[in-house]
């Protein structure tokens, strides 16, 4: 086994060495053959020593996956499902300290700054490398309070009753082709349970890293926030650049019980040949609040529409989304808010930036069910286009079945202003600095919602995307 970490090929798309673009050489201890069929699914389940009901769940999902057509909307998906590795086990077991993690994988996460962040400001961390979570820790204080923060495979063994009750209930396999695929081959992901009334001050973080080529990462995350509890969960995602495509297709289910509060923050910076096709959905009970904060950079195609179903009165759903599309990238991102109960409130704020021929789409659904009177919903989506080759589209869907509701929708599209650029450059800023400053200003209302460290990282990523590429 090689232990060397080599820089990745210089990415043609970004055109510069990216801090995430390095590979850890061939560390797998086990991988299934390429492709997908019932045998592969059985092998994965057997490897994981799963109960029969989970194997049945997987096999049923596989049938659904095979029978469902590709989505006809969104972006162009050109995936050869038989040319992907669906399961790749990087180590024999999970470390509780970083010293228990194999050196080359530990070094990967060191380079990504995870252990340092953990020391400084996180209450718990999971790190997933290809198919498996290879590191997990949670602070003792949280342990004592009864908080469960583990990977979903471990949860299946240690908390089978919770898994049986909730797994696949928010996003059934029938929901869409990629949710079915995830259900068939899922591995890793976070499982979180917060007991009633427990409020966690510091974020819990998971970091997902795809390392291998032609790899599919299918993590499955389930978060249950019990009555009156609060949590902030943060996930980061990266992968190095390979010449052939990889697939990331996660399913994330969140349950916010009465008066609970959950904020789920994603900063994704996938390499530019990753298909990122993710289903994320939360249900909110009475007076509960769910917030999705979603930062999408990188990937070849992202299709992701975090959803909140407001099931009981007083529920609140909020989605803040930033998408940045550069050369060869299509971010088809958006949000979905469904008002099922009366007196529920929802808000969507979406900001997209397109540059160097990139394409950003906002695709959003606001639905008010019959009986959900006095629902309030507001959507604001702003697009910034940096050059004539780039594109932005807005697809807002509004379905209202009830009379007394308040629904607002504002959309704006602007091109980076020649006057703004001139103003800043005439005061000594280079054109790249000026553009980055204007772009950062554009997303500032969202970035200020991020924890400080992520805000800094977000600004830095934008800076990286902007450098030397202003038209």
């Amino acid at each position: 086994m090689a232990t060397e970490i080599t820089p990745g090929e210089k990415s043609e798309v970004v055109g510069e060495i990216n801090k995430y673009d390095f590979r850890t050489e061939n560390v797998a201890v086990f991988k299934v053959e390429k492709g997908i069929n019932a045998d592969i699914v059985r092998q994965i389940s057997e490897m994981k020593d799963e109960p029969q009901w989970m194997l049945d769940f997987r096999l049923e999902a596989l049938e659904i996956f095979e029978s469902k057509p590709m989505p006809e909307w969104g972006g162009d998906i050109d995936i050869d499902f038989q040319d992907i590795y669906y399961y790749l086990k990087p180590t024999e077991g999970q470390g509780k300290t970083w010293d228990e993690v194999p050196a080359e994988i530990k070094e990967t996460f060191e380079r990504l700054g995870i252990p340092q962040a953990e020391r400084e400001y996180l209450a718990g961390v999971k790190a997933q490398f290809d198919s498996e979570v290879i590191y997990g820790s949670v602070s003792e204080d949280l342990d004592k309070l009864g908080v469960i923060f583990t990977d979903t495979d471990t949860a299946l063994k240690e908390h089978p009753e919770l898994l049986r009750e909730y797994f696949g209930t928010i996003i059934p396999s029938l929901d869409n082709k990629f949710a079915a695929l995830n259900s068939a081959v899922w591995s890793g992901g976070s499982f979180i349970y917060i007991p009633p009334g427990v409020k966690i001050e510091f974020p819990l973080q998971a970091y997902f890293r795809i390392n291998a080529q032609n790899m599919g990462q299918f993590e499955r995350t389930l978060i249950i926030v019990d009555e009156g509890a609060e949590i902030h969960y943060v996930e980061g995602c990266t992968a190095p650049m390979y010449s052939s495509d990889s697939l990331h297709s996660a399913v994330v289910e969140v349950i916010c019980k009465k008066n609970a509060r959950c904020r789920y923050t994603t900063i994704q910076n996938w390499a530019n040949n990753i298909y990122n096709l993710v289903t994320k959905r939360a249900v909110c009970m009475a007076d509960a609040t769910m917030e999705w904060v979603d930062g999408n950079l990188g990937s070849q195609l992202t299709m992701k529409y975090p959803a909140v179903y407001m099931m009981e009165p007083g529920a609140h759903g909020e989605i803040l989304s930033i998408a940045f599309s550069g050369k060869g990238q299509h971010q088809d991102a958006g949000a979905k808010l469904v008002h099922v109960a009366p007196n529920t409130t929802g808000q969507i704020i979406s900001k997209s930036i397109s540059k160097d021929g990139g394409r950003s789409s906002y695709r959003g659904l606001v639905r008010v069910e019959k009986g959900a009177h006095d629902a309030k919903n507001n959507v604001v989506c702003d697009a910034l286009i940096l050059d004539a080759d780039s594109r932005s589209d807005t697809y807002p869907y509004i379905e209202v079945m009830e009379q007394d509701v308040s629904i607002g929708h504002e959309a704006s599209v602007s091109r980076i202003g020649e006057e703004q650029l001139f103003y800043l450059t005439s005061r000594g800023l280079s054109e790249a600095e000026a553009s980055a400053m204007i772009v950062n200003g554009f997303i500032e209302p969202l970035v200020k919602e991020l924890p400080m460290e992520y805000a800094v990282e977000m600004n830095r990523l934008i800076q990286l995307q902007m450098e030397g590429s202003v038209g």
């Binding site: 005061r427 200003g441 554009f442």
Partner: protein
């Protein structure tokens, strides 16, 4: 050495419409020049061309800062070389805080060879200097946290421009109606501030319709622009005459320029 800004036979057009038709002007460091003239005569255009606004196309002529060819420089290089223009209608940049913008700007202008990503001037030092300058301009400290020109009143915009002048300390500054849209007190404050900032040895080109600014910053030279040319140059007495009597004498004395001025100011082009 005394720095010198030399403009020779400058022709500038906007959207293919000629605005400046052969401007000649020499400014030395430490001098104050008033640039006057009726609306549409090309005063702002001259400033924009000096700063390198991409819409203002220089068709012929030269601009030199000492021996350096200004026309070969990008706007940021011009700023770093010591040129500055306070704009009549500065553009809003939402989300960008005044303090962040000014720290970058000040750093680059003071270290013209700074590469992107290199250190900015230390926060403590910068903050003190910014606060001192804001106090002099009677600006609230909160101002530094507001977004650049976003939702500023007319007076706040002009003050923000003067604040930048004070921070950047250019060699030559063009002030485009920095006193317009202000009430009497604000004009006085602006005039005094500019006098104090510029007193050192800045070269000032002041575009104005009022006389307050010029009372505090008496010009050694007054230039009158008409139809895209400087048709007359005099001392302070010329500025006084124009304030007292308007442009009738000038319009009558230069009928060709007057005809061009009429054509320009009636077209859609804003100069």
């Amino acid at each position: 050495m005394t720095h010198k800004l030399t403009i020779e036979n400058l022709h500038v057009s906007v959207d293919d419409k000629p605005i400046l038709r052969g401007v000649n002007l020499v400014l030395h460091e430490g001098e104050t020049h008033a640039l006057m003239g009726p609306n549409g005569s090309g005063k702002s255009t001259l400033g924009m061309a000096i700063m390198g606004h991409p819409k203002y196309e220089v068709n012929s002529g030269t601009i030199k800062l000492d021996d350096q060819d200004v026309l070969a420089l990008s706007p940021d290089e011009r700023a770093r070389a010591g040129l500055f223009m306070a704009f009549q209608r500065p553009v809003a940049i939402p989300g960008v805080k005044m303090a962040d913008f000014l720290r970058h700007s000040t750093t680059n202008v003071r270290n013209p060879n700074r590469q992107e990503g290199e250190d900015l001037i230390p926060m403590k030092e910068f903050r003190k200097e910014l606060t001192d300058n804001m106090n002099k301009l009677e600006m609230d400290v909160q101002f530094a946290r507001r977004y650049v020109n976003d939702g500023f009143s007319g007076g706040e915009m002009k003050r923000a421009e003067i604040l930048q002048l004070a921070m950047l300390q250019p060699t030559f500054a063009i002030l485009d109606e920095t006193d317009s849209g202000l009430d009497a007190d604000a004009v006085r404050l602006a005039s005094e501030s500019i006098a104090e900032i510029g007193r050192a040895k800045m070269g000032l080109l002041i575009i104005t319709h009022h006389d307050k600014l010029l009372i505090h910053n008496p010009p050694e030279f007054t230039h009158v622009m008409l139809g895209g040319r400087i048709v007359e140059t005099g001392g302070i007495e010329l500025a006084e005459e124009l304030h007292a009597s308007g442009y009738e004498r000038i319009r009558a004395a230069y009928p060709d320029a007057e005809a061009q001025n009429e054509a320009m100011s009636s077209s859609e082009v804003i100069s």
